[in-house]
């Protein structure tokens, strides 16, 4: 089936396009962009007036929980949630059971995603075997079998030498290392950000310097080895400054933040709300401001959700016992669009961070609407208002801090390789 997407506002930062025009899709590829394109005989027409037509959104940081933890999420429900949020590609983190540290698990994910998934799934392999922090995974084979990056996301590689050698080795293979920057000795038994709120609630705090130190270490290792590094889920003012300075020095560092880090502060924890418990924890006002500043000046390259589904039983418990993380795929787009309303980002900058940049960092060959490229396209309705409701979320898990909140903007139509996989 061929598609003609008519009269949408096409925003393609990769080609510096921002104009009302038509997009013709043929055989799963972009055929042509132009004004007033005629309708080919066999093409289905999608009226995109009033909508943004952008390269398919890419979330480079999600937890699909498959294999092993399917009670939280699986590839089918996770990709369903992704396309509902406007994402055409997701990169899934390796903390599954078993860990993505070998070809068999990678193949399982890729095959299941191809046969049952609704969008592209790019696995991220583990840096260390079993994410144990003891010895390197077979990084070469991980790359060969389809991993687009390596990370021990969820925990840092504590041993600095192992981290340094992994960076060197990965550079030789040609795969990006994603750092989960956390100094565990400073995290201790902490369950939320250390600050006035933790003092008032009597909860053990995690100081922001726990993230800053680890960000520094990994950037210094990358600088020393000359290897590229990507810092995941940046949440602190300190980390933004450290990354900004490193970029200015020419270090090959990229990074991402998540919508909750530019939307919420640790105030959201009040009432011991376990849906505001995540790692890194929600920080304070000055951190939120620094994250926005980092997005604005380009220090922060990408917005990724860190979509972390958890079963109700893992969240509906005492605060200390609750698992870290929230679902994010379906709320990322409206929360990110708010940055445009607030004047933090221009629309094309936002699309860059949601699509073009992640593709570039991970060499996915997507994130652009050039003739001949794969037709992953997201149609965004910027004015759609909707309420986040547990039973309407496509994800198996409902651990969102925004339940009951009204969101503005969302995916109208999600197209993966020329095929409509989601329609609002």
């Amino acid at each position: 089936m061929n598609l003609l997407i008519k009269n949408g506002r096409v925003i393609d930062p990769g080609q510096k396009i921002d104009d009302v025009m038509d997009v013709l899709v043929e055989n799963g590829l972009i055929k042509e962009l132009g004004k007033g394109l005629s309708v080919p005989a066999d093409a289905k027409v999608i009226d995109a007036s009033g909508k943004y037509v952008v390269p398919g959104l890419i979330d480079m940081h999600v937890h699909l929980r498959d294999p092993g933890l399917e009670y939280k999420e699986d590839i089918v429900s996770g990709t369903k949630s992704a396309v509902a949020g406007g994402f055409t590609s997701v990169c899934c983190m390796p903390n599954t059971k078993p860990v993505i540290d070998n070809k068999a698990v990678v193949s399982y994910i890729i095959n299941k995603a191809k046969s049952e998934g609704l969008c592209n799934v790019f696995p991220v392999g583990s840096i260390t075997y079993g994410m144990g922090g003891e010895r390197m995974s077979e990084i070469g084979e991980l790359k060969e079998s389809g991993c687009v990056a390596i990370s021990d996301d969820g925990k840092p590689v504590v041993n600095s030498e192992l981290m340094m050698r992994s960076l060197q080795y990965a550079q030789g293979i040609g795969i990006t290392v994603i750092s989960h920057a956390e100094e565990l000795s400073l995290v201790g038994q902490g369950v939320m950000n250390e600050g006035y709120t933790s003092t008032e609630l009597g909860l053990k705090g995690i100081p922001c310097v726990a993230e800053d130190i680890a960000t520094s270490r990994d950037i210094m290792l990358a600088e020393y080895t000359g290897s590229p590094i990507h810092i995941a889920h940046v949440s602190t003012k300190g980390s933004v400054r450290i990354i900004r300075e490193a970029k200015a020095r020419g270090v090959k560092v990229t990074c991402e933040t998540a919508p909750h880090y530019f939307t919420l502060t640790d105030d959201a924890v009040r009432g011991y709300n376990t849906n505001a418990k995540m790692n890194p924890p929600l920080r304070e006002v000055q951190d939120v401001a620094a994250i926005k500043e980092g997005l604005k000046d380009g220090t922060i390259d990408c917005i990724a959700t860190d979509h972390a589904p958890h079963h109700l039983d893992e969240k509906d418990v005492e605060f200390n016992e609750a698992m870290n993380g929230i679902v994010g795929l379906e709320t990322s787009l409206p929360l990110s669009l708010k940055l445009v309303d607030e004047g933090v980002l221009k629309l094309d900058q936002l699309i860059e961070k949601l699509s073009f940049n992640p593709s570039k960092i991970l060499n996915l060959g997507r994130g652009i609407l050039r003739a001949g490229s794969i037709a992953d396209i997201t149609l965004i309705d910027p004015s759609a208002e909707w309420v986040v409701e547990a039973d309407k979320l496509a994800s198996k898990s409902k651990n969102s801090p925004w339940l009951g909140r009204t969101m503005k903007g969302g995916a109208a139509t999600t197209i993966v390789a020329g095929k409509v996989v989601y329609k609002r």
């Binding site: 250390e194 008032e200 009597g202 909860l203 011991y272 005492e318 605060f319 200390n320």
Partner: protein
């Protein structure tokens, strides 16, 4: 006439000045019962109170048990093994099972801050907090205030020094919340490792750079318990050095007002946060605190029974 409208007592942060005044005045009346030969009134006859203590505590649990019994309630003590997780039963399940036995009040102590709020959303009986993590210990705060009121006849304008590990102290938090509403001024001192960020914003709190500064002209000196196990290895060198800088002794107590009252939530580590001369001296009100504990808890049990669902 003032009415107590709370179904639960979880934190003094949630109570108004009027609520606390009512509880204190009721506690003063309850004290008379404790001095009788027959120390029992029929008020809560037929009510069932479950004391659910996830952390061991002889003093607080006994005090709540006696308070319930003196009001003629039936009291049951339950101490689940410290890690309920190993038994596989969650707090919510334990509570729902207990609830099936129709208690009127659950008095709970739990190591996790905020677990009482979690529980209050699940069950429909009254909940009284007997201590949650480093959050609050409202009955201790109230009995401390009652004891200060006994000594001074007022709380307004008192200078209260709280010395020790504020970060990990639920007693300090309840006192700061309660005393601030009653008009007292609080001065905290301790090693900087034990002063949590923003503590000065918790109430009318001044952070002192030394213990002497906090003690100066204090009406009340409240010392907090220091345990090597709780404070861990990173907050101080050892208890010896701690007591040199932050221990209360016959010398530094002279900085406080003559006849200043000395308090401690117990149990005391003699020779660490306080020397025996001070603990057993004339200015010590520590045993009076314990005595007042029963009356305060009777008042809490009495009023939550008449409170409305929030």
């Amino acid at each position: 006439m003032a009415e107590f409208k709370h179904k639960h007592i979880i934190a003094l942060r949630d109570l108004s000045k009027e609520d606390m005044e009512l509880l204190l005045s009721t506690a003063e009346s309850m004290r008379e019962i404790n001095s009788r030969d027959i120390k029992k009134v029929p008020t809560l006859r037929g009510k069932t109170i479950i004391n659910l203590f996830y952390e061991s505590s002889t003093r607080t649990r006994t005090s709540f048990e006696i308070a319930g019994k003196r009001l003629s309630a039936d009291t049951v003590n339950i101490a689940p093994s410290n890690s309920s997780a190993t038994k596989g039963e969650t707090l919510a399940d334990t509570a729902l099972n207990l609830l099936a036995m129709k208690p009127d009040i659950i008095v709970m102590r739990h190591a996790v801050s905020g677990s009482h709020y979690f529980l209050a959303n699940k069950i429909n009986c009254s909940i009284i907090n007997a201590g949650d993590g480093a959050h609050e210990h409202p009955s201790q705060g109230l009995l401390d205030m009652l004891t200060m009121k006994d000594r001074f006849g007022r709380l307004d304008g008192l200078k209260v020094a709280i010395v020790g590990d504020i970060t990990h102290s639920r007693v300090a938090r309840s006192n700061i919340q309660g005393l601030t509403k009653m008009g007292s001024k609080i001065y905290v001192a301790g090693p900087p490792t034990m002063l949590p960020p923003g503590v000065e914003k918790l109430g009318d709190v001044t952070v002192c750079s030394s213990m002497n500064e906090a003690l100066e002209d204090a009406d009340v000196v409240m010392m907090l318990r220091i345990q090597q196990e709780r404070q861990g290895k990173t907050l101080m060198p050892n208890t010896r050095e701690y007591s040199r800088y932050f221990g209360l002794n016959p010398n530094n107590i002279k900085l406080a007002k003559p006849n200043a009252m000395i308090m401690h939530p117990g149990p005391i580590n003699r020779g660490v946060e306080m020397s025996s001369y001070v603990i057993d001296g004339d200015q010590s009100w520590i045993l009076k605190q314990v005595e007042n504990g029963v009356a305060v808890r009777m008042a809490m049990l009495y009023h939550v029974c008449g409170g409305e669902l929030e």
